[in-house]
């Protein structure tokens, strides 16, 4: 059973923030000349006066967002992860994180799916960067359903947040009854043999991997972590206790991201063997989405293979 496809998170972004802005005149969107890609253009259609084109000038864009926030507005940022997190990092640090101003950093193009752009556009370490930054909340929704809820939550939350969204359609994990709770991890599947901890659009593939493993008699416990910072420590510890063996799976470097967060937490609260599946300290080339998932070991099949290998090696 493979999880079905959902809608691209970038469309959810344009639509949801536009809807939010209809009810809340404080919401504005700042675009770094990529609204036609991030689907900021949906917001522009609905609220042309509050769509603030900032041009190809991301450092200034984040700084302007800080200034707008001091005037009581709630800026959402429309650009790619690379140009929302890496290019204006000093501005985020000084003007947004250190001030606690109410700016929503909500770029599309997280992970490998960036339209065959290659390494200049594929950011493998955004979670490591944002998680290490004092005061920066980091949320990585699993699918379109959760993305919409995270964006609604972000608009209501007071303070800076980082929400990483995916460009293309990914698998749908949740149905409409799902409720995102900030700071809470979610158990997706109960199991006894190994605990898989996953985040973002990787979670559905991890769930599929768990089904493949189940067919071979390996019963995986699967936990989805939408809020990477602050981490749901109790849930992670409980999930580790369930099986005594943890493997994190993320569409991101294995250094300092979800895997790092879980390793730090378990080392402190419940020492447990933990392996980290993800990108192995390398840059990602261009190629079609499915080819990249396969090459870099993040398809359901390759994740299940790797989990099996790891379990076999440690038995």
């Amino acid at each position: 059973m493979t999880l079905p496809m959902g809608r691209p998170m970038r469309e959810i972004f344009g639509e949801t923030v536009a809807e939010l802005a209809t009810d809340d005149p404080r919401i504005v969107m700042l675009d770094g000349d990529v609204g036609s890609s991030t689907r900021g253009d949906i917001f522009e259609q609905a609220h042309p006066d509050r769509y603030l084109q900032m041009g190809i000038a991301e450092q200034n864009m984040l700084g302007v967002a800080a200034g707008l926030a001091t005037m009581g507005l709630i800026p959402f940022i429309s650009t790619f992860v690379s140009f929302a997190v890496v290019r204006p990092l000093d501005q985020i640090r000084v003007l947004i994180a250190q001030t606690g101003l109410n700016v929503k950093i909500t770029p599309g193009y997280a992970g490998l799916f960036t339209g065959m752009t290659g390494m200049s556009h594929i950011i493998v370490d955004d979670v490591s960067i944002m998680r290490a930054m004092p005061g920066m909340v980091t949320v990585s929704p699993a699918d379109d359903v959760e993305a919409a809820q995270v964006l609604r939550w972000a608009a209501a939350y007071q303070g800076p947040v980082y929400v990483r969204l995916v460009r293309d359609a990914t698998q749908r994990l949740f149905d409409e009854s799902y409720r995102f709770e900030f700071g809470r991890a979610v158990t997706i599947r109960e199991g006894r043999d190994v605990t898989l901890v996953s985040t973002g659009a990787q979670t559905p593939r991890t769930v599929d991997a768990a089904e493949l493993l189940a067919a071979e008699g390996i019963d995986a416990h699967v936990v989805h972590v939408p809020t990477i910072k602050p981490l749901d420590v109790a849930a992670i510890v409980a999930a580790a206790d369930r099986t005594g063996r943890v493997i994190t799976v993320e569409e991101h470097t294995v250094i300092g991201g979800l895997g790092g967060a879980v390793a730090e937490t378990l080392g402190e609260h419940r020492p447990t063997r933990i392996d980290r599946i993800g990108l192995q300290d390398l840059y990602i080339q261009s190629g079609p989405n499915d080819a990249l998932l396969d090459i870099y070991g993040l398809s359901a099949a390759r994740v299940s293979d790797r989990v099996r290998e790891l379990l076999a090696a440690s038995r």
């Binding site: 450092q59 200034n60 707008l68 003007l95 001030t99």
Partner: protein, 301 residues
């Protein structure tokens, strides 16, 4: 450079000019005293900016020190955040907090951080310290004022060295696109930065400068440019009054200044950007600033 171009619109009378000159002098005294006391902090930049800061806080800006969060206040962003002590001195003199508190500058737990920290000090409109950013924030304030229907102005002060940061030109480009004539950037054009290029001047470190170069850049980016002698108080008041009348463009006030202004041995020397003051230097600085000779104890911090 003279304030002549602005002279026609100034309404400041001689009394106000003299009053603000005294404010500027007192800012300078605080700058030297506090930096000496803290054994740290910047000197050259706050001293070159003192007249401008006095004119902003005591003449141009609509603010209510007793109600620092007043929504309709004009905002000020010190983009050259290393001149924080100059801003703090101006704010203290204007009544935001007691002048004595200035001596906590740079100390642990102080509201007066080495670089401005808006989370600590009411009335501080933006945190800065990493150069080039303040103008972006000020642009956001000006744009936000327009979007929220607040008739406010955003003032931002930049260093001339700071204008080497690309972010400044990103902001210049975008502010012109948005025709933000409620945004006024004041550039403290003291011709020195921290270390800079070789050139002439007393230490061989006054970098080669092309006259009108800075003004030309701002004009090319679509800004109105007003030039003024940044130590001529009447001219400064005139130019700030002129800047208040928007013409559809953001305004850059290029203020020609002298780094270290007011302290004879600091003027024009790059190395007084930040440096420890020796006791005999402190005494000289107080004399230059028209203060009585300091107690040996204060001088010998």
């Amino acid at each position: 450079m003279s304030g002549a171009s602005a002279g026609t619109t100034t309404h400041a009378d001689a009394g106000e000019v003299a009053r603000l000159e005294e404010v500027a002098r007192r800012i300078r005294v605080h700058v030297v005293r506090v930096v000496n006391h803290a054994r740290g902090g910047h000197l050259g930049g706050p001293l070159s900016a003192a007249d401008l800061l006095a004119a902003l806080y005591f003449h141009a800006m609509r603010v209510r020190p007793e109600d620092p969060d007043w929504p309709d206040r004009d905002r000020f962003v010190l983009s050259k955040g290393h001149s924080s002590i100059g801003l703090y001195a101006a704010m203290a003199l204007r009544g935001y907090f007691p002048e004595e508190e200035l001596l906590t500058f740079d100390a642990a737990h102080s509201r007066l951080q080495g670089h401005p920290d808006m989370t600590r000090l009411p009335g501080l409109d933006m945190s800065t310290g990493s150069l080039g950013m303040g103008i972006s924030a000020a642009m956001g304030i000006a744009l936000g004022g327009r979007l929220t229907g607040h008739d406010i102005r955003a003032f931002v002060m930049l260093g001339d060295g700071e204008c080497q940061e690309g972010e400044v030109w990103e902001a210049a480009m975008a502010a012109a696109k948005y025709r933000l004539d409620n945004l006024v950037a004041i550039i403290d054009h003291n011709r020195l930065q921290q270390f800079g290029w070789h050139g002439d001047g007393p230490d061989g470190r006054l970098p080669p400068q092309v006259p009108g170069e800075l003004a030309g850049k701002w004009r090319a980016f679509g800004w109105r440019v007003l030039e003024v002698d940044g130590h001529d108080m009447a001219a400064i008041l005139g130019v700030l009054d002129e800047a208040a009348h928007g013409d559809g463009r953001p305004t850059a006030v290029i203020a020609d200044t002298v780094k270290g202004k007011g302290v004879s041995f600091m003027e024009g020397h790059y190395f007084w950007h930040t440096r420890l003051i020796k006791p005999e230097e402190f005494a000289q600085a107080m004399a230059d600033l028209g203060e009585p000779a300091p107690a040996a104890e204060e001088a010998a911090r």
